[in-house]
């Protein structure tokens, strides 16, 4: 099986360990991942306006490159990229006139993209497509003693047109966690927003959100939180340290990329996870549970 891969900016910088762990996991599952030869910033936030076509050009350009790659599926690991690329496809499919106008702006592209030629896929759906039995076969360590809180955030679930699972009550992460031998912890804040880019201007909102989300996972007995969004990751990992500086009674919990946990369970060299990038050190709990 072969897919094209769109990394986006953050996976090449802050979230390198997300990329390395995800690629190693997919390699174990027998997927050939081909990074696009040329790709552009997706724009991060999908333009929600009906009239600003300029903001659609960058994601569509990337989709043109994906079409030229010849692979049917384009893997987006970053959930912000997934959301923007997927919604841009919905946008052009819904309005031929706008698609035509966007094409007129793209004079360097020899190929035209119409919306159905490439399927943008997230890693969870890709793992399910490969098959949970195949995943089970690749798991070599026992995670039965590990209680995992899966945090979805927004970008994989909303709006519902692009949702990978039910926007209200998703279960795809938990299904994979079960197949990977760990125990699931359901907590009420698992699909709630972490505050996103407001970390730049309104950090108090993020502290409020992070505290509620993290405390809810701890209260329900989680050992670890796993997620797929590099921005949620920053807001929940780094911000915990800031909360603790002001509130000594605040209890922290390590945050891992979903693929880091899978890589550990598959017995892949733990160095690829680069735990030095984490603010809340996950190594003590991982050692206690026999994963390191």
């Amino acid at each position: 099986m072969q897919v094209s891969y769109y990394p986006g900016c953050t996976l090449k910088t802050n979230a390198k360990n997300f990329e390395t762990s995800a690629l190693a996991v997919l390699d174990r599952l027998g997927v050939t991942v081909q990074e696009l030869e040329d790709w552009y910033c997706c724009g991060v936030c999908f333009s929600q306006t009906s009239d600003n076509l300029m903001q659609q050009i960058a994601p569509i350009r990337t989709l043109v490159k994906a079409k030229e790659s010849g692979n049917r599926q384009l893997l987006a690991l970053c959930t912000m990229c997934y959301n923007t690329l997927k919604r841009s496809i919905e946008f052009i499919k819904a309005d031929e006139e706008k698609l035509e106008a966007i094409h007129k702006f793209m004079d360097r592209e020899a190929t035209r993209f119409y919306g159905n030629e490439v399927e943008v896929i997230d890693i969870l759906s890709l793992i399910k497509q490969i098959g949970l039995d195949k995943l089970k076969d690749a798991i070599v360590k026992n995670g039965e003693d590990l209680k995992i809180a899966s945090y979805y955030g927004c970008m994989l679930l909303r709006p519902k047109e692009i949702a990978i699972d039910s926007p209200d009550d998703p279960n795809i992460m938990e299904e994979i966690i079960t197949a990977a031998s760990c125990e699931n912890v359901y907590f009420p804040f698992r699909t709630e927003c972490c505050g996103s880019y407001q970390i730049v201007n309104e950090p108090d909102i993020i502290k409020d959100r992070a505290k509620k989300i993290v405390s809810s996972a701890i209260k329900n007995g989680a050992d670890l939180i796993v997620m797929l969004c590099p921005l949620c990751y920053y807001n929940l990992d780094e911000v915990q340290i800031e909360i603790q500086k002001k509130d000594q009674s605040f209890q922290t919990i390590p945050v891992l990329y979903f693929t880091q946990l899978l890589a550990l369970l598959m017995g892949i060299d733990p160095d690829i996870n680069d735990f030095s990038l984490h603010s809340v050190d996950p190594r003590p709990i991982l050692k206690r549970k026999g994963l390191l």
């Binding site: 986006g8 900016c9 953050t10 910088t13 802050n14 979230a15 910033c41 724009g43 991060v44 936030c45 333009s47 929600q48 306006t49 009906s50 009239d51 600003n52 970053c78 912000m80 927004c154 679930l157 909303r158 709006p159 519902k160 926007p167 209200d168 709630e192 927003c193 505050g195 996103s196 880019y197 407001q198 970390i199 730049v200 201007n201 309104e202 108090d204 909102i205 409020d208 959100r209 590099p230 921005l231 990751y233 920053y234 780094e238």
Partner: protein, 137 residues
């Protein structure tokens, strides 16, 4: 919403309201004020006008009050309100429309040099770019 506002047909037929409908592409009149959006909004406690009141004020043409409010800048487009709306009103797009009305006038966008250097180097790019596209100075 303690401020007294006078409802008039002139306000309801205002150009600003037309602009908001055009940018967002949303039929705001579908809203019947059930309040699900405000109940589900994770950032509502930081807003000066809750989302359902934003829609009501928009229906009545009080666009200046909305563009002058904190609410559109607190909204981080998590789209929970839109998913929860029983009438299919895309409230997140209305918030974007309000932001755009301001951003398309002469307000300056964020100056990267004004963000604390230590924070700037630590933040993921997706936080910075999202912030640049959605906020003002």
């Amino acid at each position: 919403m303690t401020k007294n506002r006078v409802i008039s047909s002139r306000k309801i037929e205002s150009e600003a309201l037309e602009q908001l409908e055009e940018i967002s592409g949303v039929n705001i009149y579908a809203c019947y004020q059930c309040g699900n959006c405000s109940a589900s909004c994770p950032a509502v406690e930081f807003m000066d006008i809750p989302p359902h009141q934003v829609i009501r004020l928009a229906q009545l043409g009080f666009i200046d009050d909305l563009t002058g409010s904190e609410t559109p800048w607190i909204c981080a487009a998590c789209i929970t309100c839109t998913v929860k709306c029983p009438r299919g009103v895309d409230i997140a797009k209305v918030m974007e429309g309000l932001r755009q009305i301001v951003l398309r006038s002469d307000f300056e966008h964020i100056n990267i040099r004004e963000i604390d250097e230590k924070l700037r180097k630590k933040l993921p790019q997706i936080a910075l770019i999202g912030n640049f596209r959605k906020t003002i100075l």
